[in-house]
Symmetry: C2
Subunit: 205 residues, 2 copies
Amino acid sequence: MPIRILCVDDHALLREGIAALIATQSDMTLVAEASSGREAVAQFRLHQPDVTLMDLQMGEMNGIDAIIAIRAEWPGAKIIVLTTYAGDVLAQRALKAGAFAYVLKGLIRKDILETIRDVSRGLKRIEPNVAADLAQHQADTSLTPREVQVLTLVASGNSNKLIAAQLQINEETAKTHIKSILAKLDANDRTHAVILGLRRGVIGF
Amino acid sequence: MPIRILCVDDHALLREGIAALIATQSDMTLVAEASSGREAVAQFRLHQPDVTLMDLQMGEMNGIDAIIAIRAEWPGAKIIVLTTYAGDVLAQRALKAGAFAYVLKGLIRKDILETIRDVSRGLKRIEPNVAADLAQHQADTSLTPREVQVLTLVASGNSNKLIAAQLQINEETAKTHIKSILAKLDANDRTHAVILGLRRGVIGF
DNA sequence: CATTTCCTCACCCTTCTGAGGCAGGGACTC
DNA sequence: GAGTCCCTGCCTCAGAAGGGTGAGGAAATG
């Protein structure tokens, strides 16, 4: 009984690569593909695959929301996050959402196939790189929702005054949030904070 | 006589996808793969393919430098840039370096195959999206080398004083560069400039 | 109920930033 | 040789950013 796999990625070429890779394995079969989070949920509903390979960056519904949606309906769903690169915060969120593994695209075939087999057996598996990142930062206090909101506005080039206006809070409050963000991310200034936020997956591009 | 193709990308999975795609076409054959710019030049030297598919973001030597190196040796080399997403500046530089086409990953098979055929016949081809971006910004004066250098330092969270120290120039000069950058990119402040620089491919991640 | 976290706001103070204008020297082009 | 672009430097000055500290209310957590 082969491992039934669903592949979710908005890059057709990459899905093609996965398909080709899986086709070479006698114990695996690709039962469906999806190019967005929304499609992923639909396809999962249709096929209920043993393992789902899920990208995070997608158009219609991101991977993390898709993971949450799928596991809300099927708590046993085994999902592997397969992403180009993403900061530790994204990895953390994905794992918290119920992902079984977090692997980077660009890995050699063997590693990806092994991860699929491991996960299909119910084992969890984290990339050494990602694990190191997680270990390094998991102790760090992460940003609060409000701080993420502020940082996002900072990333758009807003001044404290404009941020305050948009969030309908006092400018002093905005400054307090900024100060907190700088301290938590260990950033030199707001620009640095934005870069670190991007790198670590706190804010999107 | 099939179109002989070299595929350059640091993602093994994506190369796999390309390979699978090309394998379905009777008039194309994949003669070599490379996972870095350096390898790309070596493989080109070995096989002198009709068409090269080249990613831009790679570890050892980036795609643009690889294009320049290859076309320095073989001015007739037909290279297609195949990238996930990149700003207009990168596209501009790639085309200037001698790329025949600039297409985004995530396109459907047909478009990619058509581009390969067009380029193999010597036609150039630009993505509509990318072309629009280029048209929109090509009038803009681009950043000077020094300004790019300054912006890169800004992105690392350096103050004007530190930037000046690292470049061994006066802080006032650093400020002049910053002012010029802000004006050219039409940015509100340095943070905004960094974001715009990232989006447009002026600076890397 | 006690504690903690988060969001909110306030005040003081120093430093940095960004707008504006100006100008000389070097390199390159026409 | 004239013009242009780039890099460099200087000045002023208002406004913004950031460090430090404190503190109150709301909500969640134990």
